[in-house]
Structure formats: C-alpha cells, structure tokens
C-alpha cells in the first residue's frame, strides 16, 4: 500500500463515520479537526474501524499521529504493509 492509498482508506473510514462531511477537498497537511466537524469520539471511531477492518491497533499514545491525512499516511502505511502474522 502506498501513502496515497492509505489516505484513501482513511478518507473512506471518515466518510462512514461522518457521512454528511464533504471530503472532496480535504487538505492532507492540515489537521482533520481543523477542516472537518470531527470530535474525540469520531477519532475513536477511526481507531475502531482500523482495528476491525484492517487489524491495526493504534495505541492511545499514538492517536496524535492521526491528526492529518499526511500524518496518518506516515504512521499507518508501514502498519498496513507489515507482514501479516498467522
């Protein structure tokens, strides 16, 4: 998975969590909370969907790394690409 693919995945999740948000022009380098109507519960939803759909567990200390699309891609892409354990 590329970083761009990763951003698409995150946007898909946000689209499910906040279906009334317009995601056409989300700026990758700007904090998601500064451009979308997302609160702390929504970020927990993002974490939950990453766990349920992709088996990625984001520890609480790393939630800050989900702040923008760019930081999501930086943090999550290696996790998406890691070898799957049995």
């Amino acid at each position: 998975m590329t970083k761009e693919d990763c951003k698409k995945v995150v946007l898909e999740i946000i689209g499910e969590i906040a279906p009334d948000e317009n995601l056409d022009n989300v700026k990758p380098n700007v904090r998601l909370r500064d451009q979308l109507d997302l609160d702390s519960m929504d970020f927990l939803d993002i974490v939950m969907e990453l766990r349920k759909k992709y088996g990625i567990n984001v520890p609480e200390a790393d939630y800050i790394k989900l702040a923008s699309l760019d930081s999501c891609a930086e943090y999550l892409t290696p996790l998406f690409n890691r070898p799957k354990t049995a």
Partner: protein, 410 residues
C-alpha cells in the same frame, strides 16, 4: 391542594401506520393496520410494527449513526410536537423546558448489537464500541432531544414497562404543576423491535403473536388471539399550563384532568384486575367525573389470552353500567408500541373531540366471551353519542398500572 390546570397543545408522533396525527387518525378511522413482517437476527420472520418516518428531517447522518433509534424517534416526535403547538420556539426560555420520556426498557437493542458485533471478531472486547455507554444510559432518548433542540432544562426518562407512555405524560403534568418548568415535552417511545430478546422473551412466555397475515396478528379480544405484536413508535406531547396556553392563544387538544399510577404487588407478568379497577377509579375521582361521563375508554389490551380477559374484568367493574361509554383498542392496528403505547393510543383518540368519531378495535372475527362488552366498538368506526372525555389505560410488567383522563376544553 389547588393544582394548575395542564393542557395538551401539540402532538408529534410516529407509529407503524402514520408519521403524524392526521395520517395516524385517518388510518385508524379507515381500519388500516400498520403491522408487517420483519426479519430478525436469530428469530427469523416475525410480525412487527415498524415506523417509516424520515429521521433525516431533524438529524444529520452522523448523529443518527452515533445515537439510538429511541433517540431518533424522540427527536422526530419532539420537533413535530413543537411545530404543531405553534409556539415561537426561538423565543422560548429553554432552561424552563423539561423533557420527560417514558420507555419500557432501554439498552437491550444496543447491547445485543454489540455482543453480535464482537462475535464477528472472536469476542475481542477491544471491538466493543465507545458509543455503548452514552447510547445505553437510562436518560438516552430524552438527553438526545435536549442536545438536538438545545434545551437546557431538566431531562430524564421514566422506566415504567408498558405503562410508560402515560407515565411520561403524568410526569410532565406534575412538573408543570410544581412550577419546575414552564413547558414540557412528555410522552413515550419504543425502539424494542430491534431487540431480538424482546421477541424471544415473549415467545418463550407463549405471548408472541403469530399469524400468516401480519395485519391480522394483533387481535385483542378476539377468541383466536395468540399474543403480542411488538412495535416501535413514539408520541411526544407539548404540555403547558392552561393560563400560559390561553395567553398565547394556543390550540388546545384537551386538558389532563386526572390520572393514577398504582401497583399490583402480585405477579411479574399476570395483571391484576382489582388493582387496574382501583387505578381507573382513582383517576376518575381525581377528575371529579363519573364513569358514565367517560366517552372513550382506550384499552391497554395487548392480545394475550390472559391479559385481555383480566382488563375486561376491570372494565366491567368500573364501566359495566356506563351506557354512554364506548371502548376501543389501538394495538389491534399498530401492535404493542411498548413504552410509546399509552401516549400513542391517547393521541389516536384525541381527534374524536373534533370529529366526533371513535375508531374500533379491529381483527375481531369472533369475540372471546370473556372479553365481550356491550360498549366495545368492533371492526367498524362509529359516531360517538358524545365526545368530551377519554380515559386511557396503560399497564405493564411487574404490576404497574397507569390511567390518564383527558377532557375536551369547552
């Protein structure tokens, strides 16, 4: 003690056969059932009352996703009631508005869903949603209303089994009389069709309705009745003190002139007609009216063999000699809307003060002799000899009884 007079000034509702008072009433007078089949996890195809209101009318999709069905029903009904009552909502002091919503139970739907959800992830509890607690706290539906409508006065829910719709209204009346609030949103809601456990529990109890035709499944008083049709729904009233309502020139549906709540103290599920009769008599006494002055008795009867017969015993005891009284049942159209039942069933009858008609109890092919009453309006809408007073019964498990009396304002 002199109590302030409290009146109903607005009605917002959703039922399986109508999403506003006008369509609900039309379908009741026309004999149109709202019961249909639904597929349920684990339990399969069951007759149920499903509401088809547009939740997006007053909520965003994220709020619907994060909240509960009971919350959505409450928000829809509350907005509709406020719009109906004609108050200048922007000018209302929201700190003086109270929200009092009755429900039979709350949390079953959300908990069952989460257990199913984690079962898809090998019961990994880390997949249990963080929305669970705000969804299942016992003030959820009322709290969702306050957040949506920016109401800062008191809110809570009244857990009162299937008497809850009446009890929500009574709570609103009392808070207005105490001067705790100046405007009340009060009634009852139910999201129970989304809980397989409610259906399974009734089935295990031998009290779940079955019929090849879902519209015939809810048949209180009929000899072949075989149980309850579980439904969702909601009905919220705007209540105001008569003086306030008159001052602003509000339309008035009727005055809550009396009520009673009491307890059987006998059995968890079997009703007690002695206590039911006591409840009705106490409400009549509070109203200062005689049984024969009641024009409509809106029965609680749910279609269970034992429950209907017991209520009829109580009705005969109180209304046996009342020649002017007519008796009907709304569950025969919409099933048992649980916490919403009492409020919805009253709403279905209130337009009689204007149109002078009474909707019947439908689906009676052969009246059960144990339920036969001269005043029962069977299968066909009738014109009332007089339409000024309604007595509305709502009873529930653990022996909770409630009776509400509403009178037309002259």
């Amino acid at each position: 003690m002199q109590r302030a007079r409290v009146v109903i000034t607005g009605i917002g509702l959703t039922s399986p056969n109508g999403d506003n008072l006008s369509s609900f009433r039309s379908n009741l007078l026309a004999g149109v059932s709202g019961v249909e089949f639904m597929e349920h996890r684990y339990i399969g195809k069951v007759p149920a009352g499903i509401c088809h209101f547009d939740a997006l009318k007053y909520q965003g999709r994220k709020d619907i996703r994060n909240g509960t069905r009971a919350g959505s029903i409450s928000i829809y009904c509350s907005h509709e009631a406020v719009a109906d009552c004609g108050v200048d909502w922007a000018g209302v002091d929201k700190s003086r508005v109270g929200v009092y919503i009755g429900f039979t139970e709350h949390g079953s739907v959300e908990t069952e869903y989460e257990v199913f959800n984690i079962s898809q992830f090998n019961y990994d509890v880390r997949c249990w949603t963080h929305h669970h607690n705000p969804r299942t706290v016992a003030n959820n539906p009322a709290g969702e209303v306050t957040m949506n409508m920016k109401i800062t006065g008191p809110h809570y829910c009244i857990g009162a089994a299937c008497a809850a719709g009446n009890n929500g209204v009574i709570q609103g009346v009392q808070m207005l009389q105490l001067g705790e609030v100046d405007f009340a949103l009060a009634g009852g809601v139910s999201e129970s069709i989304r809980s397989f456990g409610i259906f399974a529990g009734f089935k295990s109890q031998g009290a779940l309705a079955e019929n090849a035709d879902p519209t015939k499944a809810s048949r209180p008083f009929d000899k072949a009745r075989n149980g309850i049709v579980v439904s969702e729904g909601g009905c919220i009233y705007t209540l105001e003190r008569l003086d306030d309502a008159t001052r602003r020139g509000a339309k008035i549906y009727g005055e809550v002139v009396g009520y009673c709540m009491n307890s059987d103290a006998t059995d968890a599920v079997l009703p007690n007609p002695v206590r039911q009769a006591e409840c009705m008599r106490a409400a009549l006494k509070m109203s200062g009216i005689a049984a024969d002055d009641v024009d409509i008795v809106s029965t609680h009867a749910t279609g269970t063999p034992a429950g209907d017969a017991q209520e009829c015993k109580a009705l005969r005891e109180v209304f046996g000699a009342s020649k002017n009284t007519r008796i009907n049942n709304t569950k025969s159209f919409i099933g048992h809307a649980m916490g919403a039942a009492g409020a919805l069933e009253l709403a279905g009858n209130l337009p009689s003060f204007v149109d002078g008609m009474i909707h019947p109890t439908i689906n009676i092919d052969e009246i059960d002799p144990e339920c036969a009453m001269e005043q029962l309006v069977i299968n066909k809408t009738q014109r009332l000899p007089r339409a000024e007073t309604i007595l509305n019964n709502s009873f529930g498990m653990l022996g909770i009884n409630s009776c509400l009396i509403v009178k037309k304002i002259a």
